[in-house]
């Protein structure tokens, strides 16, 4: 990826190849679900095959028209959206969207969303064997559904049931990541539950539920009143979630997201424990952002003398050597905490 401002090719100097749950991706920066459609619309602005991959907008079983407008409100360093999972449905997705990515060699992380455990499992089954499918992201945390009781990510048991069904229906060599909501009392509890149910990794975070009021109309800006808050405004919340979950489950790979707009933002997520990142809302501001962030991240890693992605993941959790007792220093010599989820095979065997 050539940086247009310098004419240099920073990625050749740092190996940015990224492995998530045993699957290799061309880079550490992905699009984010709901911020890139199914990739095609961003093709005029950067080379989709040069980033980690495209995380598609959540696909459901049937076509869906979404919610009324206005669906969007700009807020300070962010925005609220209430799209309501508008999309073509799995049939059209498999016929048109996924083949388009596959033909161009763009790894596809397919986000799925359902209204029942059965719908999630059916979507996973429909994706099984589809060319171009690199990974499944289970969206159990979209806040823009009519019934907040169906936000599976708010219940450890419901989330686990969904994930178990998806894991069973998905090919063994395709990782299943689960997208978590920050709008829960204890995200670690939910994370542990879905990992125990077979999740190979975690995507975090989805949007936070918010409201904006139009002071001229003296009414909510959004037709549906509430919407999901995203953008740089949520970045500290996202980093907190990544931090807490990585601290509790250091072997579980994390796809980190929430307000990333620069390579240094991405680096913060890696340092907090993410193995890769998604660039979402900032794509609305700069459609070339995923490629730009990846190039900036490569430069940032090189400037810090880091030759590989693996050297940085979770590094902020390590205490400086002089603060650590001697036995801990020895225990840590094996390397950083990251890699495949070791629970996966255990769960499947059971």
């Amino acid at each position: 990826m050539t940086d247009p401002t310098t004419g240099t090719d920073p990625t050749t100097e740092t190996d940015v190849t990224t492995t998530l749950a045993g699957v290799a991706f061309p880079g550490p920066v992905f699009t984010a679900s709901g911020c890139a459609a199914a990739g095609r619309e961003l093709a005029p602005y950067f080379d989709l095959s040069a980033i980690g991959g495209v995380v598609t907008k959540s696909v459901m079983r049937r076509p869906r028209a979404g919610r009324a407008t206005p669906r969007m409100a700009e807020t300070a360093s962010g925005m609220l959206n209430s799209i309501g999972l508008q999309g073509p449905g799995i049939d059209a997705f498999l016929a048109e969207d996924l083949p388009w990515l596959a033909e161009r060699g763009v790894p596809a992380v397919v986000s799925i969303a359902g209204q029942s455990m059965e719908e999630y499992a059916e979507l996973a089954a429909r994706l099984r064997g589809a060319p171009g499918l690199a990974m499944v992201e289970v969206n159990i945390s979209c806040p823009n559904v009519e019934d907040r009781g169906h936000v599976f990510a708010c219940s450890p048991d419901a989330a686990a049931d969904v994930v178990a069904g998806v894991r069973r229906a998905t090919a063994p060599d395709v990782p299943v990541f689960v997208k978590l909501s920050p709008d829960v009392t204890d995200i670690v509890t939910i994370a542990r539950s879905v990992v125990d149910a077979g999740a190979d990794g975690l995507s975090m975070i989805n949007t936070l539920l918010g409201v904006a009021i139009d002071t001229a109309a003296m009414r909510p800006v959004l037709a549906s009143v509430t919407g999901g808050l995203s953008g740089p405004a949520v970045k500290p919340v996202a980093l907190r979630c990544v931090w807490q979950v990585h601290a509790a489950l250091p072997d579980v790979p994390i796809l980190g997201m929430g307000g990333i707009r620069s390579g240094l933002d991405a680096l913060e997520f890696l340092l907090a424990g993410a193995s890769a990142v998604s660039v979402g809302t900032v794509t609305f501001h700069d459609p070339a952002a995923p490629a730009r962030v990846q190039a900036e991240l490569a430069v940032a890693l090189r400037e810090r003398g880091l030759a590989r992605m693996s050297e940085v993941v979770g590094r902020a959790h390590e205490r400086p050597a002089h603060e650590r007792p001697a036995h801990e220093q020895r225990a840590d010599e094996g390397g950083a905490h990251h890699g495949r989820a070791s629970r996966r095979d255990v769960v499947r065997a059971g």
């Binding site: 709901g34 911020c35 890139a36 459609a37 095609r40 619309e41 961003l42 093709a43 005029p44 602005y45 907008k57 049937r62 076509p63 869906r64 028209a65 979404g66 919610r67 009324a68 407008t69 206005p70 669906r71 969007m72 700009e74 300070a76 360093s77 962010g78 925005m79 959206n81 799209i83 508008q86 449905g89 209204q115 559904v145 009519e146 019934d147 169906h150 037709a223 953008g231 740089p232 707009r261 809302t281 900032v282 794509t283 609305f284 501001h285 700069d286 459609p287 070339a288």
Partner: protein, 289 residues
């Protein structure tokens, strides 16, 4: 990816060439050759506002009002912080701009009289459209309306480009007191005296577009309307700028005004349901329950 007519949108950094006051509006000219060289009437551009690290993440989208092989020009009305920031730019400042975006107006294949209707600064694309139609041998009648004289746009230019211009203002400070929809039936009658009117083109507020589409249909004339839905990205990924439009198969779908529009056949837009998802839309009215 290419959109209609083979144009490929580009993102580029563009220097401000000039910023001038036009009545109640500001006309912002940018050095954007790769956009100007592809532009057609009805295309729009999406401008980032606020500079690096801006707290205003969403692009502001504007119809292209003028262009040549080196520049583009948009007309903006200061309505919020983003447009206020744009109105404070000075020659030499650099903006991040994407264009040309959207589906432009379709021009008739054979010469026929055309009526162009613009409301407020929504009239921006009508002057280049009038020029393109005249170049194809179409007689052009332009109707421009606004709340007041200072909010009319393009009267001088339209007078130079078109065969006839009719002006309305809500307060009567210029032209006929009233709305464009008050004068449109008479204009359609007059424009169609020699040969039937081939098309009505309109851009402006949604209520005006609705009235124009209805009056054109009543006169048996096809209309094309450029809608002004609020957009977050302008490039087709955010799904916020949707409105209900009837497709070729007769079914209503929620389509993006940035990619499938902003120009639609007036008869296809469900003006009565803009802002809603009609129950008969494809998978509209779905419930998560």
């Amino acid at each position: 990816m290419t959109n209609t007519a083979g144009t490929a949108p580009v993102q580029q950094r563009a220097e401000v060439v000039s910023l001038r006051t036009v009545g109640a509006y500001a006309a912002l000219q940018l050095a954007a050759p790769r956009i100007g060289q592809q532009a057609q009437p009805g295309h729009f551009a999406a401008l980032a506002v606020g500079g690096p690290d801006t707290p205003m993440l969403l692009r502001r989208c504007f119809s292209l009002a003028r262009w040549d092989s080196a520049t583009i020009e948009v007309v903006l009305s200061v309505v919020g912080r983003g447009t206020a920031w744009l109105a404070r730019r000075r020659p030499g400042d650099v903006l991040d701009v994407i264009g040309p975006l959207g589906r432009p107006f379709e021009l008739p294949s054979t010469p026929a009289p055309c009526v162009l209707v613009g409301g407020g600064y929504g009239a921006a694309p009508l002057v280049p459209l009038a020029r393109a139609l005249r170049a194809r041998g179409c007689p052009v009648h332009v109707v421009l309306g606004a709340a007041s004289a200072d909010r009319l746009l393009g009267v001088v230019e339209a007078t130079a480009e078109a065969d006839a211009v009719t002006v309305t203002t809500d307060d009567g400070s210029a032209g006929t007191r009233g709305w464009v929809s008050d004068v449109l039936p008479g204009v359609l009658d007059g424009a169609g005296t020699v040969s039937p009117v081939g098309a009505v083109y309109a851009c402006g507020p949604m209520a005006m577009l609705s009235a124009v589409a209805r009056l054109a249909a009543a006169a048996g004339v096809p209309s094309q309307v450029a809608v002004e839905e609020s957009m977050a990205c302008g490039v087709g990924v955010c799904m916020t700028c949707v409105l209900p439009v009837v497709a070729d198969d007769g079914r209503t779908r929620m389509v993006r005004s940035c990619l499938e529009g902003p120009v639609f056949a007036g008869a296809r837009v469900r003006f009565d349901a803009v802002g809603m998802v009609p129950a008969d839309a494809v998978r509209g009215g779905v419930s998560a329950k």
